[in-house]
Symmetry: C2
Subunit: 247 residues, 2 copies
DNA sequence: GAGTGGTCTAGACCACTCC
DNA sequence: GAGTGGTCTAGACCACTCA
């Protein structure tokens, strides 16, 4: 069942094979975000390996924020609906200059459906003119508008998403995608540039036209490195900054 | 020798105590960047624990990029003079728009000595008016000037640093600080903002005055979370972008 | 062949959670 | 008390490096 020949070109150690089996369970939806996976002992006997081997597989997945261990309780599938304060700012790196740690509020402006252009199709790995859903929204810290962004989603994966659903959902955007569509974002790549504010963005962000804004372009991936979100944002960095830790 | 009482307020597991002992060896300079530390077996018998416990300590430190394991050879202190391609871009996240992966070249412009003002003193954790060294330099990708930055260093830690030394050294700036002063940067915090180019920066970067630039402010830390570098840079993001991975 | 890190196992005991 | 993850040990064998 499990491959056992070392030195073969596709060889990987047992615990990595276990890891990829667990990953399959996550990707297939067998275990849902926020739910528990079987105990280490059960997985060990199910896969016919020792508990230590399962443990090493889970160790790596916990380090990658795919699983969360809770001593005495079990191991859980990580979720954007958890309110672990360390993980909430993982995907929003904007911090107020005067550290009053106000929570950010999302204000969805529009949500419409369209056909993928070249750039969207290439980025999301879908075919040209495939259906996509586009969302425009504004983020505020307190009352100040700070971020304006457009979010592009593949329509087939997220069909039926409406402005009302966005406005009603209590919790983060990624939390909504998880509970409503069973798609969990596990990783993202961002590209940052400095750009000049165009007229409409300047109006929304309450800054002068032409003033410098931080452009943040993001591609997010779900299990199996499948791209499922493309996002372009403009951040006003007069009273906030983008924080990044290099390590 | 090693503390053994669980449930005591300062309790930490054995492998963490081993980890902090190894950390002491790194911080004290007992084992230098690029050099090998003792083998797992030797550390185990030296500290009176099993090899597995040492292994777990080293595992964590390797994950934090403090140590590098080399199968069959030994475990080495990570160094900025290694030319591991994965680690070179760890502290310079700027990527050319058209992925031609040109190496960046540093051109030191000035290096002078001064007294710490309020902000520098607070950031670097030194007293007001303590000696500091300030470096101005320009980074080019190919022939294009892309980054202009000022680097503030505590003078007592890095005394005797000159413009000539900067110009002569083959290798990265952090590599120089390591070999010349034995100080290794292990972590940094960056704050990004969009700003308008002032006259002198615009000239150096060959952009129009007032055009948007990416402002990157960095504080770097050595062992024990001691801040030892403060850096302010302006990045031209017309042909390059700042890449960040969220995970 | 000796020495190093890498994998895998089996078993013991501890700490935490929940019933 | 039963079940879970967390720590620690001891030993076996493998893969890699270097002399």
């Amino acid at each position: 069942m499990l491959q056992e020949t070392p030195a073969s070109p596709t060889f990987s150690p047992l615990y990595r094979q276990i890891k990829s089996l667990i990953l399959q369970g996550l990707a297939s939806g067998e275990w849902r975000p926020g739910g528990a996976i079987p105990s280490e002992n059960e997985l060990a006997s199910r896969f016919g390996v020792s508990q230590g081997t399962v443990r090493k597989a889970i160790d790596e997945m916990a380090a990658e924020n795919l699983l969360v261990r809770r001593q005495g309780k079990g191991t859980y599938v990580a979720s954007h609906n958890d309110d672990d304060p360390r993980l909430i700012f993982r995907f929003l790196r904007l911090v107020p200059e005067n550290g009053t740690l106000e929570a950010s509020q999302s204000e969805p402006l529009e949500c419409w459906h369209a056909k993928a252009g070249q750039e969207a199709a290439r980025t999301l790995g879908i075919r040209l003119a495939a259906p996509i859903t586009i969302i425009r929204r504004l983020l505020r810290f307190g009352t100040k508008p700070v971020v304006i962004e457009e979010i592009y989603l593949p329509g087939e994966t997220f069909s039926g998403l409406t402005l009302e659903a966005l406005q009603e959902y209590q919790g983060s955007f990624y939390g909504l995608l998880e509970t409503r569509f069973g798609v969990r974002m596990i990783r993202a790549e961002e590209r940052l540039r400095a750009v000049a504010a165009d007229r409409s963005s300047a109006l929304l962000l309450n800054v002068a036209e032409g003033s410098p804004l931080l452009s943040v372009e993001r591609v997010s991936f779900t299990y199996g490195d499948r791209p499922v979100e493309w996002r372009r944002g403009l951040y006003s960095t007069a009273d906030h900054y983008y924080q990044n830790d290099l390590s």
